[in-house]
Symmetry: C7
Subunit: 94 residues, 7 copies
């Protein structure tokens, strides 16, 4: 089974806490908005979204920072994913 | 009797709970927004919507994930449907 | 006397409860938004609305589903009508 | 003295209750928005408004239906008028 | 000293109550929005405002009707003025 | 040290109360919005801002009227400045 | 490890209080919005963002003033950063 996101949407999966510690990324907590790190598992086709040409800039396997309140959580075959728009991804961590 | 959606609207029908379990998709509950899975039963013609050319990307029979608070529920000849815009569909599950 | 709607507006008239039952359409009640069924009695000319070319897709006699909170109610010569924009019509029922 | 409306604005004057009864138009009261009937007394020149070409579709003498909460009331030489945008006019009654 | 308004702004000055009575314009009070009459004393150059070409339609000396809550009040050399955008002017009274 | 504003931003500095009195400008207090007078000390380059070409119309040394709630206050080397967009400047006083 | 911001985003790092004092920049506190000073550490590629061509105007090493409530805080390998859009940067301090 595969989740195929539409338009400029991206499917990501949270990295486990241990992985975060290993990778040296610790997210600070603020009252306003908590960033999170996740791995990209599926990328939509992009194309014309809301009348504007969107080119996808992230790819499968990228580690990304995104805003906590962005996107929608889903659970498929026991795995949890988040589906969000590419514009809700802040940065790629390399 | 047939529901013919206008513009970029799509008519979907919720999958039964048993089907969801069979298909291995379980949706997590969040306070913010609960995604749902449904099957596409009718697809609007697309075309120019709000002055922008919309191409329909989903088709009859697709299983789709969508946001709970999107769309309008209707009941026709005893069957319940939801009518929403294609842009409220997050992903196709294959 | 005739109501001639401007721009992309459509004049519709609610179907009686009996008719709805006969036609097999029952509308579910949700806290959020209740769809309704009505018959189209007048259609505006379309054209350029808010700087965008609008083509009218519904015609007199169409049975349509629309959102309850859309439009404005008027009573002319004892008959009640609703005037709404075409974009507030969800689907045509055939 | 004359009120010359700017851009896509229209000056209208409410019809007296008696006239409404004569003309057979009775407006239903809803909690949300009460439509009203009035006669057009002045029409703005249209042209480019908010960067969009607006063509005036109503003319002096037209009886029009409009939303109660649209427009601004003024009193000139003892007469009450309402100034609103053409887009707040729902329909012409003929 | 002179106030030179930028872009599509207009400087107006309220007419005295006596003048209003003489001119026969009485403004009705509504809970929503009170129109007012004033004389235009300075007109901005217009041009491209928010990416749209604005042509100034009012001129010095025009008596104009405008919405009470539009604009900003200033006092220069003992005189009170209001600075507002041309789009907040409803009509010219002639 | 110099503040170089980006895009269509302008750096201004409030005129002292004495100067205002000398220049004959007194600002009236309203509950809604209090205009203020200041001197322009730095002007951004303009150019394409939010996809629109912005031409800067104010220059260093101009006395300007602006809305109190516009912009952000900063203090550099003991001097207080306000950084705002040119569109928040109402008028130049000459 | 490196944070690569997407689109028109910029990664900045707050200057220490001592540095601010040395550089002579003191930020005033207002109830509305507190500006802050930081150093640019990474700059996104710009390009087409929301259908508009964005050219990046800041570069690594620039000292910038920005609005406190803009952006998202992250902590990578013990260092705290803020990721914001270039349009949330008010000015470069030179």
């Amino acid at each position: 089974m595969k989740i195929r996101p539409l338009a400029d949407r991206v499917v990501i999966q949270m990295l486990e806490a241990e992985e975060k510690t290993k990778s040296g990324i610790i997210l600070t907590g603020t009252a306003k908005e908590q960033p999170q790190i996740a791995e990209v598992v599926e990328v939509g086709p992009g194309g014309v979204v809301d009348g504007k040409e969107i080119k996808m800039e992230v790819e499968k396997g990228n580690k990304v920072l995104f805003s906590k309140y962005a996107g929608t959580e889903v659970k498929v075959e026991g795995e949890e994913y988040i589906i969000l728009r590419q514009s809700d991804i802040l940065a790629v961590v390399e």
